[in-house]
């Protein structure tokens, strides 16, 4: 795992959704654990897209369930 990417994703979630940094781990489920709803998920994607100049297709990618899934997706993007 790219630690810098995780730290950035963690920071965005903390700032955007007023969470404690300790809450944000790779295993955490975005909806069930972090209680993000559809509006939150959309805003999270917007923030990540602005940060990484990357297009997430959240609706077409049901594999994104955890913080780790987001980090993995971004790592793939950055390695290209």
């Amino acid at each position: 795992m790219n630690h810098d990417v995780f730290k950035k994703v963690q920071a965005i979630i903390v700032e955007q959704f007023e969470k404690n940094p300790e809450e944000i781990t790779l295993e955490k489920l975005l909806v069930e654990d972090l209680e993000l709803d559809s509006l939150d998920m959309f805003d999270l994607v917007c923030a990540l897209e602005k940060e990484y100049d990357f297009h997430f297709q959240l609706d077409k990618d049901s594999s994104i369930e955890t913080v780790g899934d987001i980090v993995g997706k971004l790592e793939n993007h950055l390695s290209k």
Binding site: F17, D37, L39, D40, F42, D43, C46, A47, E49, K50
Partner: protein
């Protein structure tokens, strides 16, 4: 058969305080909430760099799930309503009853969010990377929509958006909803959040007070001969309106009775007010209240300190009341709260009723002889009164008049 409507809770934010003690103190000391806006230095071509500002920037009391879709205007209204509901003592089940509704309004919706959104779309991100909550923060009915979600309202929700009469119409809508049996409780009010675009809009129309950037407290001068325009400001007001028997049955403290309301339209000019329309709405409100003009002990005027508006209003008041009913506009202290003015000024009218305290016109040094001869309050008075009238008027020739009475 119609039903009686009483007020059982109030809450507000204004440039001169968020509680009745501070309000009264500032009225007594004739202290203004208008200040110089150094924050607006970046606004090119803006003449009037003054505004009435609410000293409240921490809204973390509102849970994030609600706050995320609220602009400043909705947040001020949300906390105002929270206080009003707490004062009313209404239970959660009463608030979330289908017989409880809501009506809130503002002139501009979430202007700060809209401005930032437009700027970002135009200069940075386009539409591809805009978040989902922006529209929910700036849409015209953002206040009523967000408050309904936060308070769990399942009854009627009637947002109002009529500029300077937005919250007055919200109060009127709530009053009529209860009076004619559609609801037992209505949560009503409105607000406005400050943004320099609003100042710029009125500045370029020649409607703002120019020349007071260094002495902002003297800028807003209703009925004064040297008045030159309005001062933009922000604020909010919320009231709990309740059917009289409903309030009595639960042992609520009743703050006053709303006995009359009317709204009407000039139908003549989009900005120029008509004394005929104003006169008509005051007479209609008196008829609704089944009161004579002599029953009204105090008139809270709309008077924004624009050259023509104050004259027309004074003429209309004179036609209905003659020269002996005490009248003041509190915009000398607060500036013009636009969508929040109607609700806040209704709360001030309620204070006048309950505390037998009539605030003076601030900055009224020499009455404009073109204004009709009225009993303009020059220094605050402590006078028992039994009924008050609050008037508000808006672009589009929309007029409102609200009458409150001691119970």
């Amino acid at each position: 058969m119609t039903r009686r409507v009483v007020i059982t809770g109030i809450g507000f934010y204004s440039p001169i305080g968020d509680n009745l003690t501070d309000l009264r103190s500032n009225f007594e000391q004739m202290k203004s909430g208008v200040r110089t806006m150094t924050e607006w230095d970046k606004a090119n071509g803006l003449n009037a760099r003054i505004a009435g500002v609410v000293g409240q920037d921490d809204f973390s009391e509102i849970p994030r799930q609600y706050r995320r879709t609220m602009d400043r205007v909705a947040m001020m209204c949300a906390l105002s309503l929270k206080r009003a509901v707490a004062q009313s003592g209404l239970s959660t089940s009463a608030v979330t009853s289908p017989r409880t509704g809501i009506s809130f309004g503002s002139a501009m919706g979430g202007l700060e969010t809209l401005f930032d959104y437009a700027e970002d779309v135009s200069h940075n991100s386009g539409f591809g990377r805009q978040n989902a909550t922006a529209f929910l923060r700036f849409m015209s009915h953002t206040v009523s929509a967000n408050l309904a979600v936060m308070f769990g309202i399942i009854g009627r929700n009637i947002p109002t958006s009529s500029a300077c009469t937005a919250s007055a119409q919200a109060i009127g809508t709530g009053y009529e909803s209860i009076k004619y049996g559609m609801s037992d409780v209505m949560l009503v009010g409105g607000g406005e959040g400050l943004h320099y675009v609003e100042a710029g809009i009125f500045d370029s129309m020649g409607a703002t007070a120019i020349g007071y950037n260094d002495n902002p407290e003297e800028a807003s001068r209703p009925f004064d001969i040297s008045r030159s325009g309005l001062v933009v400001s922000e604020g909010s007001g919320a009231l709990v309106l309740e059917e009289y028997e409903h309030a009595k049955a639960r042992g609520a403290v009743i703050l006053g009775e709303m006995v009359g309301y009317a709204t009407g339209c000039d139908g003549s000019h989009i900005t120029l007010p008509s004394e005929r329309g104003m006169e008509s709405v005051m007479r209609d409100a008196l008829n609704d209240a089944r009161l004579n003009s002599s029953d009204i002990g105090y008139i809270n005027a709309h008077a924004t300190a624009t050259p023509k508006g104050d004259i027309f209003e004074s003429i209309a008041v004179h036609r209905v009341f003659g020269s002996t009913t005490p009248i003041s506009s509190i915009k000398g202290y607060t500036g013009h709260m636009f969508g929040g003015g109607g609700a806040f000024e209704t709360i001030v009218s309620l204070m006048a009723l309950n505390e037998s305290f009539l605030p003076a016109n601030k900055n009224l040094v020499e009455i404009d002889p073109t204004c009709a001869p009225l009993d303009y309050i020059r220094a605050h008075r402590e006078t028992p009164i039994t009924a008050v009238m609050n008037n508000n008027f808006a672009f589009g020739g929309i007029n409102t008049s609200i009458i409150l009475k001691k119970i």
